[in-house]
């Protein structure tokens, strides 16, 4: 998504009504963000937006990048936000061999997740998010999420042997399907460490 360097554009202050609806969208997409939302996006803060290439928008608060969004698609967390609040986002994990490919902007393929070093949700996990259980989902000690993640869901990509996330993106295949098939693309066009968005100056 952001393989090339991005030139900073002017920032614009968001209307408070827009900021409120964005906050609501965030809580719907990322229920686990609920305990942190007031810290991430204080009620009286004034959020700014910056236009990025390919119809993307970056949301910035006090010069700190928080989220990006393409058109009216899912609002995605910037990796710096993921690093600050890792508990707020569902994760999968790639094996060590896949790291350098993901960090060069390649599509994440199933074998990087089904291998010994990869992690997909636990066996026998609930096939999807059950209503009323939004706050129960979590990662276990082994690095496996407690429910299957569906096609179209935003996901944070962790890496074998690393503490911090290396990418975020939208699943183009559900995790149950990835387990069953063991091949094919899983996340395309991710935002990854060292990409144009990561390097973009937001001061």
């Amino acid at each position: 998504m952001f393989k090339k360097d991005i030139t900073p554009a002017p920032k614009q202050k968001l209307k408070s009504s827009v900021q409120r609806s964005l906050r609501q969208a965030l809580l719907t997409t990322y229920p686990l963000m609920t305990p942190y939302i007031d810290e991430i996006l204080p009620k009286k803060s004034s959020l700014e937006s910056m236009k990025l290439p390919d119809r993307n928008t970056l949301y910035v608060l006090d010069n700190v990048p928080l989220f990006y969004q393409q058109d009216t698609g899912e609002v995605m967390p910037h990796l710096r936000l993921v690093h600050r609040f890792p508990q707020a986002f569902p994760t999968i994990r790639i094996d060590r061999g896949a790291i350098r490919f993901v960090l060069s902007g390649a599509t994440l393929m199933a074998p990087g997740l089904t291998s010994k070093g990869g992690r997909l949700p636990v066996e026998g996990a609930a096939p999807k998010l059950e209503e009323g259980k939004e706050l129960d989902q979590k990662v276990d000690e082994d690095g496996r999420w407690s429910r299957e993640l569906e096609k179209g869901e935003p996901v944070v990509i962790m890496a074998e042997g690393k503490e911090e996330a290396c990418a975020v993106g939208v699943l183009v295949a559900g995790t149950a399907e990835v387990k069953a098939k063991g091949k094919g693309p899983v996340v395309e066009d991710a935002h990854f460490l060292g990409d144009g968005l990561w390097n973009l100056g937001t001061e």
């Binding site: 810290e39 061999g97 070093g117 074998e160 042997g161 911090e164 460490l193 060292g194 990561w198």
Partner: protein
């Protein structure tokens, strides 16, 4: 009544603070994937010795290679070499470009005894002209703005003759600019007026 006016007592901030590499900007555990590994290591060892010990310990390195097949290790090593070469080439190119970049401070006589000072070429040093113009305006308490030049680029025009002060200010504030790369020019009003 007073109670309801009290600000909410917020709990402890939950935000984690992650250390990022001062060289390549990634979390240091990912420095190995960039082209500046050696520099990254030096920086980490100097600034965060404990973290350095954890990430680059022999045990950690062994665990890292054990997870990859011999072939994959070879490919990764080749890849790393290419990246290093690329980063070094880019750095050399940038250094070369900077060495050749000249900033011109030009004193221009607008009317009799009325001067403006133009600064040309700052962008080559990665400076944002708008911001510098603002700083200069504040520093010299005068008008300062970015204007387009016919050749297509932009320059900063400061009201008044502040050539010498500007020269010193640039050197002091932006350590990347070598003194030899700043030239002072006096653009005298031509004796013969071209118009009329």
């Amino acid at each position: 009544m007073a109670d309801s006016e009290q600000p909410e007592i917020s709990s402890e901030p939950q935000s984690r603070h992650v250390t990022y590499c001062g060289v390549c900007t990634l979390p240091p555990e990912y420095c190995e994937y960039g082209g500046t590994v050696k520099k990254c290591q030096d920086w980490l060892q100097e600034n965060h010795p404990a973290l350095y010990g954890r990430i680059w310990s022999p045990e950690a390195l062994e665990a890292a290679t054990a997870a990859l097949s011999v072939d994959a290790q070879k490919r990764a090593a080749r890849d790393a070499q290419k990246k290093t070469a690329k980063a070094e080439a880019a750095e050399a190119k940038q250094a070369d470009k900077l060495a050749k970049s000249v900033i011109t401070i030009k004193r221009i006589e607008r009317n009799k005894k009325k001067f403006v000072t133009a600064v040309i070429g700052l962008e080559a040093f990665g400076l944002e002209l708008k911001k510098v113009a603002k700083d200069l305006g504040k520093k010299f308490a005068t008008g300062s703005s970015v204007t387009k030049v016919p050749s297509g680029g932009e320059e900063i025009v400061v009201q008044g003759d502040v050539s010498d002060e500007l020269h010193d200010f640039l050197l002091e504030k932006y350590k990347d600019i070598p003194e030899d790369n700043i030239e002072l020019v006096d653009d005298k009003k031509k004796k013969k007026a071209t118009s009329g």
